[in-house]
């Protein structure tokens, strides 16, 4: 059953009854959900896909020339931290959704590790109000698995679902207690919610700030072994099997996790997984200068792990690319490596990095890339997005695949600039974005609402 709980868009769609029409001409349309990969025109009417075909013409429609560009369903990021409520100095729905648009995303899914945590229908409701008011794109909400994300007592899945959450997760923390996790998996299945698990055994990772291995040794830092991730992946796959439920594994970073997920899928278990651009772009060597923008959890792993992640993406073990967009202010990050918080922003660089590291290197085809950045994440969370079929919500991104640019700190839309990719020369960029048929970014210019 498709999920329609993107609060912003409902209101946008109603406001568009006037029937604004757009015609996207001559683009290379890539829509894996409908097996489309060819030059087509797309007609958008009333916020929806009206028609895809050759040589469409409609005088009353505003025409967007997409010659030489790729036209795809808007990207869907299933793992974002918007920091609202509680840390509006780091990010807000407004700034986070602006960053999303810049990066070609039309839907983002925000995690519940806010302050207070999104662990009850009331908080979900008030966040919905903020989204309705401020968001430039579709924003979906994930609720907490346990109250206060403390890993002890389950939240009211049913009530939160009724209020519109699209999944549940204690992201930022793993559910340490095995029994609680087992109950959560069963309950999630019963209530038809996807459980997204942050896999980390903190008994193994406690105090660590960097991957265990040579770099940690050389730099003299406490380390996080891969075991802390994959032992938890192993436990959760076993629990999923016992509960006959499904599970989604967040931010996979190491080769052992990839192999465990691969085997689980072969066994026919309902396991899905995401990785993040930094895990297929950077290895632990990037930490060498103690740049706190290379500090994230899970940590950057070895080159061998990077290769395993790419292989997992290529063979379908890893279903989705998510950013784990985690804004932290300069003053939080400009401290000693050990004191800095984990996490980097990612919404504005994910598409470029994926093009450079995966498509240009032939790890993925363009179709597979769109699959992992739009179609699959939408499918995993049962969002009615990630598809350009007739009558679908007209969430569309137009990508200039050859566009080269410097990722300049001043250009960052997110409230925070904590990215290891600042000043990188990147390639491939979203030029236009439609959200529910509304042109919110045109030629890289984000329209003011």
């Amino acid at each position: 059953m498709a999920n329609k709980n993107s609060y912003k868009q409902d209101s946008q769609i109603t406001s568009q009854k006037s029937g604004a029409k757009y015609l996207i001409k001559n683009g290379k349309v890539i829509d894996p959900a409908n097996k489309i990969n060819d030059l087509y025109d797309i007609l958008i009417v009333d916020g929806k896909i009206d028609k895809i075909g050759k040589d469409l013409n409609l005088n009353s429609a505003q025409t967007i020339d997409a010659k030489g560009k790729i036209v795809a369903p808007g990207l869907v990021d299933m793992h974002v931290h918007l920091r609202e409520p509680g840390r509006e100095d780091e990010e807000t729905v407004l700034t986070g959704s602006r960053a999303a648009i810049r990066g070609g995303y039309t839907s983002i899914v925000c995690m519940p590790n806010t302050d207070p945590a999104i662990d009850n229908p009331k908080t979900v409701k008030s966040l919905k109000e903020i989204i309705k008011k401020d968001s430039l794109c579709g924003v979906f909400i994930v609720g907490a698995i346990t109250q206060g994300r403390l890993g002890e007592r389950l939240t009211d899945f049913k009530a939160m679902k009724k209020e519109g959450v699209v999944g549940i997760s204690d992201d930022g923390s793993s559910v340490e207690n095995k029994n609680v996790m087992f109950e959560a998996l069963k309950e999630a299945k019963k209530k038809g919610l996807v459980l997204i698990e942050h896999c980390e055994d903190t008994k193994l990772s406690a105090g660590g700030v960097i991957n265990q291995g040579f770099m940690a040794t050389k730099m003299g830092l406490r380390s996080i072994p891969s075991e802390s991730e994959y032992e938890r992946v192993k436990r959760d796959i076993e629990l999923t099997k016992r509960a006959s439920s499904g599970i989604h594994i967040a931010h996979v970073s190491c080769k052992e996790s990839v192999e465990l997920i691969r085997r689980a899928k072969r066994e026919g278990l309902k396991v899905s997984a995401e990785t993040c651009p930094h895990y297929f772009t950077l290895a632990e060597e990037s930490c060498a200068t103690y740049d706190t923008n290379t500090k994230m959890n899970p940590p950057l792993r070895t080159k061998e792990d990077v290769e395993a992640i790419k292989k997992g993406l290529a063979d379908g073990t890893i279903d989705a690319i998510a950013t784990d967009h985690a804004p932290h202010t300069d003053s939080e990050k400009d401290v000693e490596f050990e004191f800095a918080p984990f996490g980097i922003i990612g919404l504005e660089t994910a598409l470029s990095l994926a093009i450079m590291e995966l498509v240009d290197t032939k790890v993925l085809s363009w179709e597979e890339l769109i699959l992992k950045m739009s179609t699959n994440p939408a499918k995993i969370l049962a969002l009615d997005r990630g598809s350009l079929k007739k009558e679908a919500v007209a969430d569309i991104v137009i990508i200039e695949p050859q566009k080269e640019y410097i990722y300049d700190k001043d250009s960052v839309e997110s409230k925070c600039k904590n990215s290891p990719f600042i000043n990188w020369k990147l390639k491939g960029k979203a030029s236009c974005v439609f959200v529910a048929g509304e042109l919110v970014m045109k030629d890289e210019l984000i329209m003011d609402v």
Partner: protein
């Protein structure tokens, strides 16, 4: 001391953050420069005007007497003005950030910040934030470059060379910045380095730093020209199960009996302060093989050289 430093080597680095970041030639240049300052420290008037008008700030986030005193004396013998700032590390998190502190100190128009910090990499972060020179006086488990330089200076003045020497570093390698700096420096200068510790204190992948690792003390002592015995800090890491003090001494402590099986004139070093009866016995610490006090003396000359070179580099690049 043999002079094998090409006069073409010019010091261009603003900072001294660690020996990992230096070339063989740069390390040799420091040792060469230190030799001439060593002579100064033996004069009746132990002062030269090399850093007159310059200000050195000792910024210490960890309690330290010997390293701070050594840096202070080194700066004073170069005629620099010296300020000591001690910041309790417990107040770091709530107080001013390292970068803010660095920039504020810099606003006082100083030239060199000598920093000791309990966090690995703190000097790297500070050096990026300020234009002043930053000299690492020990950071976390990462590096203690001037200690390793004075160790090498002492070795070289005793044995005439570093290249080809067998040097064993014995003790808590995992948590030792002295060990890491010595490994980088010694291997760059061509020594064969062995590290020796109980298995749990040998960090993963240490061999990739170009050393041999063993938990067998006899293997570490066999054929060694010099040993560098690290201070065991039993109070340090509550999460690790350390061997007992007595057990450690029995298995790894350097005693006269153990030295008898070594090369006759093996050099025994220790960065201090010594735990007598834990990592070495008193008779070894005070014995003829020990160069421990000589290390302390050489520390001043080495630190004079470092301060002089970074200050000089700054003038060149300005």
């Amino acid at each position: 001391m043999k002079n094998n430093v090409s006069s073409k080597v010019v010091w261009t680095k603003k900072d001294l953050l660690g020996l990992e970041y230096l070339s063989t030639e740069e390390i040799e240049l420091i040792l060469y420069t230190a030799a001439s300052f060593k002579e100064v420290t033996t004069r009746q008037i132990k002062k030269v005007p090399a850093l007159r008008g310059k200000t050195v700030v000792n910024l210490f986030y960890e309690p330290s007497t010997r390293t701070r005193t050594s840096f202070e004396l080194a700066a004073k013998r170069l005629s620099a003005d010296v300020i000591n700032i001690a910041i309790e590390s417990s107040s770091v998190k709530k107080g001013e950030t390292l970068i803010d502190t660095g920039r504020n100190i810099e606003a006082l128009k100083i030239d060199i910040i000598v920093v000791r910090h309990n966090c690995s990499g703190a000097p790297n972060i500070l050096a990026r934030a300020v234009k002043s020179s930053v000299v690492n006086a020990g950071d976390g488990w990462h590096e203690h470059p001037t200690q390793a330089l004075l160790d090498m200076f002492t070795l070289k003045s005793r044995l005439g060379r570093i290249e080809g020497l067998n040097v064993s570093i014995i003790g808590d390698v995992a948590h030792s910045r002295v060990a890491r700096s010595n490994i980088w420096g010694l291997t760059k200068l061509g020594a064969k380095v062995t590290v020796c510790a109980p298995k749990m204190l040998i960090p993963e992948g240490i061999e990739k730093m170009g050393v041999r690792a063993t938990s067998d003390i006899n293997e570490a002592l066999k054929g060694a020209d010099a040993i560098n015995v690290l201070r065991m800090q039993f109070e340090r890491d509550s999460e690790l199960v350390f061997p007992s003090k007595l057990g450690y001494f029995k298995q790894y402590g350097i005693t006269r009996e153990r030295l008898k099986k070594c090369k006759k004139d093996i050099i025994v070093m220790h960065p201090g302060p010594i735990n007598r009866g834990i990592e070495m016995s008193s008779d070894v610490a005070d014995g003829t093989n020990s160069v421990i006090l000589e290390q302390v003396t050489n520390g001043i000359a080495v630190r004079m050289a470092v301060l002089y070179l970074v200050a000089h580099a700054k003038e060149v690049s300005a």
